[in-house]
């Protein structure tokens, strides 16, 4: 076992840390940086609750080692809301009851942020949104509230309803 020195930018803040090679990115974020908004569920890439963005693309932070993140830019749920006000995706999830226990929500939000960035023009169908969310398990909502929130923000005009 040995420590590796890594330099990462997390939510816009530079940090240099020593990490053991066996530590996953999820554990590094939660334990070393105390960013506990990234939730760990299954730890083998099935549930999606640990989803974060690395250099703008969504990844399972349980399936990436912290050492692999060296030199990368990481975005987590803690960096989403600005100056105390929720980001529009968070607002929409709240409005549509797209969360209950909230365990999966950070992962869902990060996946939806990627979806939004990749589709700035919106116009997505119900099927597009369900496919984008297929990597995030939610045991409370039955997904409808989450899909409704996403449809309101990125959906086709006629499909979106308040």
């Amino acid at each position: 076992m040995s420590a590796h020195r890594i330099a990462v930018v997390v939510n816009g803040k530079k940090c240099e840390c020593e990490v053991d090679e066996r530590v996953s990115l999820a554990e590094f974020l939660r334990q070393d940086l105390r960013l506990t908004g990234t939730h760990i569920g299954c730890e083998h890439g099935v549930c999606g609750s640990c989803t974060v963005l690395v250099d703008e693309i969504s990844v399972r932070s349980c399936l990436m080692l912290a050492v692999q993140a060296d030199g990368r830019r990481i975005e987590t749920i803690e960096g989403v809301a600005r100056e105390g006000s929720l980001q529009p995706i968070q607002e929409a999830l709240s409005r549509h009851h797209g969360l209950q226990c909230g365990y999966c929500t950070p992962g869902v939000v990060m996946s939806l942020i990627e979806l939004e960035r990749e589709n700035p023009a919106g116009g997505l169908s119900d099927a597009d949104i369900r496919k984008a969310l297929s990597g995030n398990l939610c045991r409370c909502t039955g997904y409808q509230g989450i899909v409704d929130a996403a449809l309101e923000l990125f959906g086709k005009r006629d499909a979106a309803q308040g």
């Binding site: 693309i57 990844v59 399972r60």
Partner: protein
């Protein structure tokens, strides 16, 4: 942390990686990690050394050549599914990737990683079984090339030597009037397939089938070609009767089975999926 202890190496060049592979015992290559990391977390595998290929730029590329399309082994599934070159030269890969995992796993998962992992229910090995690309494999002693058909050795096992790394996959160009399709059945979209079928068909100017490759996953330890069905298709005019006979041929193939999905069920799936795939292929060739 869950994996057993290992030493982590992140070489910047292929040469350096090959040197590490040649000198370290019980070393394992880490590509996208979407299968290997869970296996490490479950301690199903306990390598002493993990050699991360993620920092070797020369292994990630998509390039058209006169001999077809060359894809670097660590090219991510994400890059492949969005590539205009792949859409033009090898659309079957994109059809297959539609079913692979989720965006978050395709963002990291690589084509070479999936081919080397050889999960019998994974889509890319079935696709490779149908397309039979040439694999370039490197070690410190040099390079060798083999067809994908000679690559699988058994369940989750390839013929790679412990000191070798898969570096490139070459997909041959297809003649005019070639159509491809990928069909699978899984309990939920994006879940592991129970059975999957990849079909590559070429028709001559008289609408006879001049080349047929049918690969199937989920009925054996490694993906396989349905050679009897291919023979039946070759030289034939494509009509609904032929597709039905091909489907019956697929259903007659011996299959593995388990408590959840017994052999008879998989055989029935094979027949239906082949029927769908062939119908789609023919439509694609004729339009």
């Amino acid at each position: 942390m869950k994996p057993a202890p290992f030493a982590y190496h992140a070489p910047d060049t292929l040469d350096e990686a090959l040197h590490l592979m040649a000198t370290l015992d019980n070393a394992r290559v880490l590509a996208g990690g979407q299968s290997l990391m869970p296996m490490l977390n479950f301690r199903v595998v306990q390598p002493e050394h993990l050699i991360d290929l993620g920092r070797i730029p020369e292994l990630a590329f998509i390039e058209p050549t006169p001999h077809g399309l060359q894809v670097g082994a660590t090219t991510t599934q994400r890059t492949i599914e969005r590539s205009a070159l792949v859409r033009q030269y090898c659309p079957l890969l994109i059809d297959a990737l539609f079913h692979v995992g989720h965006q978050q796993t395709r963002n990291r998962g690589t084509i070479g990683g999936s081919l080397c992992h050889l999960d019998p229910s994974a889509e890319l090995p079935v696709t490779a079984c149908a397309l039979d690309p040439v694999l370039t494999i490197a070690s410190q002693n040099g390079r060798r090339q083999i067809s994908f058909s000679d690559f699988p050795a058994g369940y989750l096992t390839s013929t790679l030597e412990p000191n070798e790394i898969l570096v490139r996959i070459d997909f041959a160009p297809w003649p005019e009037r070639t159509g491809t399709a990928f069909e699978e059945f899984a309990c939920r979209p994006a879940d592991f397939a129970i059975v999957s079928v990849a079909a590559v068909i070429t028709m001559d100017s008289g609408d006879r089938i001049s080349e047929a490759r049918i690969a199937i996953g989920g009925i054996s330890a490694v993906p396989m070609r349905m050679t009897e069905v291919e023979t039946l298709l070759l030289g034939a005019h494509c009509d609904s009767g032929l597709i039905e006979r091909a489907a019956a041929g697929a259903a007659a193939f011996p299959s593995v089975g388990d408590d959840n999905y017994p052999a008879e069920y998989r055989q029935e799936l094979a027949a239906h999926l082949l029927q769908r795939a062939l119908t789609k292929v023919i439509q694609r060739i004729q339009t």
